[in-house]
Amino acid sequence: MRALITGGARGLGEAIAERLVSDGGDAVLMDVNDDVVRTAERIAALRPGSIVKSVVGDVTLETDCLRAVTEALDYLGGLDVLVNNAGVGGPSGDLVDNDPADFRRVLEVNLVGVFLVSRQAARVMIQQASGGAIVNIASIFGQRGEAGSGGYSASKGGVIVLTQSLAQELARHSIRVNAVAPGHMTTQMHWDELRSRATTSGRSLEDQVEVTRSSIPLGRHGTGADVASAVAWLVSKDAGYVTGQTLGVNGGIR
């Protein structure tokens, strides 16, 4: 299995790459942060003989997306899997107060970025005529609107609907497209969000973490490994009749 994973430098993307490579896959990690070079080297060491390479690039730039897919093809000899994981947090606070530039920015990275990388990767997969699988990392906050992070919710909601459109368009090429919607995860993005909420509410960060944790039926935050196992299943033969769907990985929160 040959995979391109965006946002692969750290967090969920790093965990997904670790999992797919450990399972026997080869991968190219794309990230705007050049830490991705070291991440790729570290993951390559997990499985001797694996090919794990990095591309420094920005998913909002068409040229970078084309370059990432082209380099992935060069490194891997083909492309079976795309994981659209690159994403940023949005502006916090009420929409009436949000700066339009901040609102546009989160849509540009989280939604337009998925479109730009997917079209390049899908063109390759169609050409190969051997099927494929795309997994988009959405969010539980894309499954319902959230007060205080409207831009982020809209971007991830857009990803869920884009997943359905892509699934319909690519099904005839035996390319399946699904999304994973994580809940509260142990990622830097989530801790940043809680830090911001703690400041607003006047709570300590520890109290803010506990407030969130106690709202999760399974009683813990999700991990990169939790998301990675869902991605690994969705790209496998075991999910061969699943397409256009969004799989919640959220410990039971609504």
Partner: protein, 262 residues
């Protein structure tokens, strides 16, 4: 047409070693395929079903230690079956799959109240009764567990060609029941999820009774342009049962070739 990617996953294959499952409606169709998958991955399975002949065949085919007749509509029967199944499995039940179900086609105005009740008794009441009996055991033994309920895409989308309001409503009820049990039992480390099969090639499928109109329907409404197999539903159920889905609870996953994504 094969919309899949070869996975070199090594660990898959023994996910259920030492784990014990009870499957209602496990003697045929999706229930049987799920039993076969769990056994193939090292687990032990007990099956209950209403059909003696299917039970005999599945007992032979899968070398089951426990394959008994049970009508999930009756609390006494299901509670007795859960107790004896647990004993046969060695004392505990880690997984429950509620696959027992019936499908009836009838337009709302032709539907008699008794027919409505019959479908609800098996599909929804049966799922509630079996889950309650097994969930209670899981909580008492403190071992946690995972439950997967068979819903249907009929819970999500209506279909004028095959009217079955009673079936659809019962399967929508299964999703609501799934979510509620998931939040009530999460503190006991019991996960509860549902799968929503689409057009799956099993004895329950009616869409292909007329091969010509059936094929046209699949071509027009299923993006992947083929029927699904019972094995493809079983592989989803197996994922949800397994520790791979340790953070997934209260979800309902369609396995429908993209039908509900349109």
């Amino acid at each position: 047409m094969n919309a899949t990617v070869k996975s070199a996953r090594v660990k898959i294959g023994r996910r259920f070693a030492g784990r014990r499952a009870l499957i209602t409606g496990g003697a045929s169709g999706i229930g049987f395929a799920t039993a076969a998958r769990i056994i193939a991955e090292g687990g032990d399975v007990a099956v209950i079903d209403l059909d003696p002949e299917a039970l005999r065949r599945s007992r032979e085919a899968l070398k089951l230690q426990f394959a008994e007749r049970c009508d999930v509509r009756y609390a006494g029967e299901i509670e007795g079956a859960v107790e004896t199944a647990a004993r046969a499995l060695g004392g505990s039940i880690d997984f429950l799959v509620n696959a027992a179900g019936i499908y009836r086609i009838k337009a709302v105005l032709d539907l008699a109240p008794d027919e409505w009740d019959d479908v609800f008794a098996v599909n929804l009441r049966g799922t509630y009764l079996a889950s309650r009996a097994v969930g209670r055991r899981m909580i008492e033994t403190g071992t946690g567990g995972s439950i997967v309920n068979l819903s249907s895409i009929a819970a999500l989308v209506a279909d004028a060609q095959e009217p079955a309001a009673h079936y659809n409503a019962s399967k929508a009820g299964v999703i609501a029941l799934t979510k509620q049990m998931a939040v009530e039992w999460a503190p006991h480390r019991i996960r509860v999820n549902a799968v929503c099969p689409g057009l799956i090639n099993t004895p329950m499928l009616r869409m292909m009774d007329n091969p010509e109109t059936g094929a046209a329907y699949v071509e027009n409404f299923v993006p992947l342009r083929r029927l699904g197999s019972a094995d493809e539903v079983a592989s989803t159920i197996a994922f949800l049962l397994s520790d791979e889905a340790a953070y997934i609870t209260a979800v309902a996953i369609p396995i429908d070739g993209g039908l509900t994504a349109c």
